[in-house]
């Protein structure tokens, strides 16, 4: 799941300081699940903005709507009839949703309400941890299901650096060394041979927007 966190209030406030009517659009999927951009957070942000602007003697009119997903055009359709009533749009979606929203309403300024943090897992209510950096070439099979890109501070593919310290990463005692964990797990599975060979340099191609077309879903070429 994509994990995001609310932008600092000051930053949001200053982005929309010149606008009098702003529509705050929540997103009902990932950012709602990670408690950053669903209905509740839209309400909280609007309340905050309303109060802050009143205090600044510059009242703002705020609208709100939360769509199922801002990264799907069908869900954005509901906004078509609304956006013209506003000077600007705040989006509580991840970077993808915000862009898709901005693309659809290219004539309106669109501002991010959250910072998209990472792809992660939910350890407990409100507690998320990064697990994937969407590197596009997964080596988890080799590393016992522990990602050397995300979990190692240096993203090393060929074992730990010299800073590995009794199972901890050199950057922090509480951060486990990914390669130590990989070794432990593979040893238990009797699969240490899978990390004995040198892994060649990664293919970091595709820094331009990457595309995935799931097999079986490709549209027929236009006749």
């Amino acid at each position: 799941m994509i994990v995001a966190k609310r932008k600092p209030f000051e930053e949001i406030k200053s982005m929309i300081k010149d606008y009098k009517k702003v529509l705050n659009v929540g997103c009902g999927t990932c950012v709602a699940v990670c408690l950053a951009g669903g209905e509740k957070e839209v309400d909280v942000l609007n309340a905050e903005l309303d109060m802050a602007r009143k205090l600044e003697e510059s009242p703002i009119e705020l609208g709100k709507i939360t769509v199922e997903r801002q990264c799907d055009r069908e869900y954005l359709e509901t906004l078509d009839s609304m956006v013209d009533d506003y000077d600007a749009i705040l989006s509580m979606a991840c970077g993808a949703g915000i862009q898709f929203l901005a693309e659809r309403f290219a004539h309106k300024p669109v501002f991010p309400g959250v910072d998209t943090s990472f792809i992660g897992i939910n350890q407990d209510v409100g507690w998320y941890e990064e697990r994937c950096r969407s590197c596009n070439s997964c080596v988890l099979g080799m590393t016992g299901g522990i990602c050397p890109v995300t979990m190692c501070a240096k993203g090393l593919y060929n074992g730990p650096c010299g800073g590995t310290n009794q199972g901890s990463c050199e950057i922090h005692k509480d951060q486990p060394c990914a390669w130590y964990m990989i070794y432990e797990r593979l040893e238990r599975q009797g699969r240490l041979d899978s990390i004995m060979d040198v892994v060649p340099a990664q293919d970091w191609r595709n820094q331009t927007p990457r595309t995935v077309i799931q097999p079986g879903y490709k549209k027929p070429e236009a006749a």
């Binding site: 209030f9 909280v44 309340a47 905050e48 109060m51 009143k54 205090l55 009242p59």
Partner: protein, 111 residues
């Protein structure tokens, strides 16, 4: 027990402070209340196990939000007492009122 406490305190009943939402507290301040406080059971004695701890967390969250907005975080507080402590309730009502008087009226009032 007929213990005097300030008349500006008005009570909204909830089944448990665990029900109190961040938005309820924010809304009160947004609409111009000078202060809001939650009165929960003593910590460790919540009938529903931990509702009052959750409320404390939310009160802290709202305090942080108020600070962001530029309002005094101390307009929102949490108190704990048991149901038999009428005098303590009155004492907290007084304390909160005195405290809010010190902060002055909510600048959002009539805005």
């Amino acid at each position: 027990m007929r213990l005097e406490y300030p008349g500006n305190v008005k009570i909204i009943r909830v089944p448990c402070t665990g029900k109190v939402d961040v938005m309820h507290l924010l809304r009160a301040i947004q609409k111009g209340a000078d202060g809001v406080y939650c009165v929960g059971c003593l910590e460790g004695t919540c009938h529903y196990n931990e509702g009052n701890f959750r409320c404390r967390e939310r009160v802290n969250h709202v305090r942080m939000l108020l600070e962001e907005v530029g309002l005094e975080s101390d307009r929102v507080r949490m108190y704990n007492l048991s149901s038999g402590e009428g005098p303590t309730f009155a004492a907290y009502a007084k304390e909160m009122t005195e405290h809010i008087k010190g902060l002055g009226p909510n600048p959002l009032k009539n805005k």
